[in-house]
């Protein structure tokens, strides 16, 4: 049976070129970048080059890039780091109800530390309103953290507008761009973003590595103390192979961004077209005209998400109920609850398909027809 992987928003396969790029940094160029000898200097150089590539990809300066162990660490560093470093300026933070748990749970932690957090609601399409945001913004707001594109339903937030509104405000603007980066062009200066989180394994890079962009002017208290790596903002021997692998993935993503975005959008249309043509009931969650190209979240009324996923898995199709990190729990997705309320049937009948490297039109067609069959079987129609 051919397995079709439609869960790229959970994690993605490494690009073969990424693997190839990494191997020499494990076998030959294995030095500790802090060592002053040749092996160390070679590793240091590789990191410098990678930093340049990463910085360029978002219009940042090299000294504004902090390599981390992944998206979760980047989010934690951004939120706790900024909150703790700026608490004399205020204790108010604004975020949204549909953030990834790496942001949400960190906000809960900050609440316990005496910060006050406003969780902006979203409408049925998953978007926050700028009026809500304007009303929530206070003189003592020190940090605004709003995700770029949502990992479960794909909706894009009005990042540019928020950036504009914060231009004259003391609050730093963080965006979790883990899902958007690599498929949506991002320029941190154009969008007035102060901090931005990225994870390599969502863009066909390795797991265990990511980065936080932090504008030069951002005051940040580190999470990890120790050696003086990453300009004292993140201690720990650098994962050189991982960092070099991520840079390669960034390079590939930049070259293929437009082509991939339009391909994934056509996959979405294809799938929905087949659902339409076969006449099964379905509702798209989120906003089709304002979403990440690779995320498609669909409710199939009358089905139950767990049976859907089990049946899809048996048919060789890997999809998901929401973010992988919460998939293990039986709690309904907090994103869908924020969009539709606790009582909505949609929170129990929605499936996320997410596209990526290796997916073909044939696979999408096959997956769509299999989905149709399963939906029919489960709803006895």
């Amino acid at each position: 049976m051919e397995r079709i992987y439609l869960d790229h928003a959970a994690t993605s396969p490494m690009h073969p070129d990424v693997v190839e790029t990494m191997v020499p940094f494990m076998t030959e160029i294995f030095g500790n970048p802090s060592s002053i000898h040749f092996f160390g200097r070679q590793s240091r150089h590789a990191i410098d080059v990678a930093r340049e590539t990463v910085a360029k990809s978002i219009g940042a300066k090299e000294n504004e890039i902090i390599f981390t162990s992944g998206g979760t660490e980047a989010d934690n560093l951004a939120l706790v780091g900024v909150a703790m470093a700026n608490r004399q300026k205020g204790k108010h933070i604004i975020t949204t109800a549909i953030e990834h748990h790496a942001v949400l749970h960190t906000c809960h932690y900050l609440e316990k530390q005496g910060f006050e957090v406003t969780y902006l609601p979203v409408d049925e399409r998953g978007k926050i309103s700028l009026e809500d945001f304007q009303r929530a913004l206070r003189d003592d707001t020190i940090l605004v953290s709003i995700m770029f594109g949502n990992n479960e339903v794909g909706v894009l937030q009005p990042i540019k507008e928020i950036g504009q509104m914060l231009k004259e405000h003391q609050a730093f603007f963080h965006t979790d761009a883990v899902q958007a980066y690599g498929l949506i062009p991002i320029d941190v200066n154009e969008l007035h973003i102060d901090l931005l989180s990225v994870s390599a394994h969502k863009i066909n890079g390795p797991k265990g590595v990511g980065f936080l962009y932090a504008r030069e002017t951002v005051k940040l208290i580190p999470r990890l103390y120790g050696g003086e790596q990453e300009r004292k903002r993140r201690a720990g021997t650098e994962n050189v192979a991982g960092i070099v692998g991520m840079a390669k993935a960034v390079e590939i993503a930049r070259q293929t961004m437009n082509e991939k975005a339009s391909m994934y959008r056509s996959f979405k249309e294809k799938m929905l077209g087949i659902f339409e043509q076969e006449g099964i009931p379905y509702i798209v969650n989120g906003d089709e005209n304002n979403s990440l190209p690779h995320v498609l979240n669909v409710a199939f009324p009358g089905t139950n998400v767990e049976s859907m996923l089990v049946n899809l898995d048996l048919a060789g199709i890997a999809a998901s109920s929401g973010s992988a990190c919460t998939a293990g729990s039986i709690d309904p997705s907090h994103v869908l609850v924020a969009m539709f309320g606790k009582e909505s049937e949609r929170i129990r009948s929605s499936v996320r398909f997410s596209f990526g490297l290796g997916n073909t039109e044939e696979q999408i067609e096959k997956a769509a027809y299999e989905t149709v069959k399963i939906v029919r079987r489960l709803t006895n129609k």
């Binding site: 802090s34 720990g236 998901s320 992988a324």
Partner: protein, 380 residues
């Protein structure tokens, strides 16, 4: 090439890299995903956890995977401090810890904790007596490294554990980054509550480490999010690097069984030949020191220039710990041992792996002698 900087980082075993590549390419699923690819990744993760637990003689649920030693140390120290701050705010550590222990301690001091730094004697050891005198009613944590990364002195972990038996409310953390597969440490016998390990110091890959957390010990997480790793450490697990680390640990421990006598012989031979050079002062204690670390001073000559001179001949040593080797500060451990600044500033560290040989020694010694001569001429 003679690589003598294994305490900074080790060369990964080829088998370890093979494992990494296989897992990274074939089993790339997110362990939290419910579908087959996710379950495969979860199985690999679980098997790794079980195998590591077996190798360390502990339980699988006591093994937490981290991004490395620094994260594990930060997590242990800050996690315990924040968890038990209502019980007390006193922490005991030593004057010779790695920065990933001493810097978090400094951070905690800023947050109102009181940290005692145990002194070491001229050989680099703390005394149980000093520790006993330092313990207070409000002590919540004792953090002592097993093997010092700069001079290789082995601290009396078992004795500390015995002493702390009488203080059930004190949590005992051991930074074992340098000791793994070189100096045995039994976690249960040593009554160790938390123990830090780092893959790239035992021929695994960077970006993976372990924090052993004894069952029943709670700590406040450093990273919040998806609640992986029994809710203690959020973030998608680096499965490939973890599987690779498991293999590296197994292979390293097997190598310990086969080659520890060889390694000890190599170290002895090094010490013998280094001692014969008049301008060299040995800093590593002869007794109770790790089989792979040798630290010596160059009688005031500039160690950095010496390191570069050796590198020209493809011999790689280091001045002090890699993490601080960029700063030209004198060795913290040697200062704590009471060495005069001149001696502490001219320190050089050789750190071995099981793969180093006796045959390398005369070659390296020759180069070292010439380098010393050259440096003396320049300084004269």
């Amino acid at each position: 090439m003679i690589y003598l900087d294994n305490s900074a980082t080790t060369k990964p075993f080829p088998e370890v890299i093979d494992s990494f590549v296989t897992v990274a390419t074939k089993y790339f699923g997110n362990p939290s995903s419910l579908h087959e690819l996710g379950r495969q990744a979860e199985r690999l993760l679980q098997q790794s956890r079980e195998q590591i637990a077996r190798l360390l003689h502990v339980k699988p649920n006591e093994i937490i995977f981290t991004s490395g030693g620094t994260e594990a140390n930060n997590m242990a120290i800050k996690g315990i401090a924040l968890q038990y701050k209502n019980r007390g705010k006193h922490i005991i550590t030593t004057a010779i810890e790695h920065p990933s222990v001493s810097e978090p301690c400094k951070q905690l001091e800023e947050l109102g904790f009181d940290v005692s730094y145990l002194p070491v004697n001229e050989k680099g050891f703390i005394t149980i007596d000093d520790l006993m005198k330092t313990i207070r009613d409000d002590t919540i944590l004792v953090s002592v490294m097993h093997v010092n990364n700069e001079v290789g002195s082995i601290q009396p972990i078992k004795e500390i554990g015995q002493l702390l038996k009488n203080y059930p409310k004190i949590v005992f953390h051991v930074d074992n980054v340098q000791g793994v597969s070189k100096v045995p440490l039994h976690l249960y016998e040593g009554r160790v509550d938390l123990c830090t390990m780092s893959a790239h110091k035992f021929h695994g890959l960077r970006g993976a480490g372990i924090l052993y957390i004894r069952e029943g010990i709670k700590l406040s997480p450093l990273l919040a999010g998806g609640e992986q790793e029994m809710k203690v450490r959020s973030g998608t697990e680096n499965v490939a690097a973890i599987v690779a680390m498991t293999k590296a640990l197994r292979m390293s421990l097997e190598m310990y069984e086969e080659k520890i006598h060889h390694l000890m012989k190599v170290k002895e031979a090094w010490i013998e030949q280094l001692s014969a050079i008049p301008d060299i002062q040995l800093n590593t204690p002869i007794d109770h020191s790790a089989p792979h670390i040798i630290n010596f001073s160059l009688n005031g000559l500039k160690s950095e220039v010496f390191v570069h001179e050796l590198a020209k001949h493809n011999i790689f040593v280091s001045t002090t710990s890699a993490c601080s080797s960029k700063k030209k500060a004198p060795s913290k451990t040697l200062i704590a041992m009471g060495a005069e600044p001149k001696r502490a500033e001219s320190a050089v560290r050789i750190s071995l792996s099981f793969k180093n040989t006796i045959e390398e020694i005369p070659i390296a010694i020759d180069v070292m002698k010439n380098a010393i001569k050259k440096l003396q001429e320049v300084t004269r």
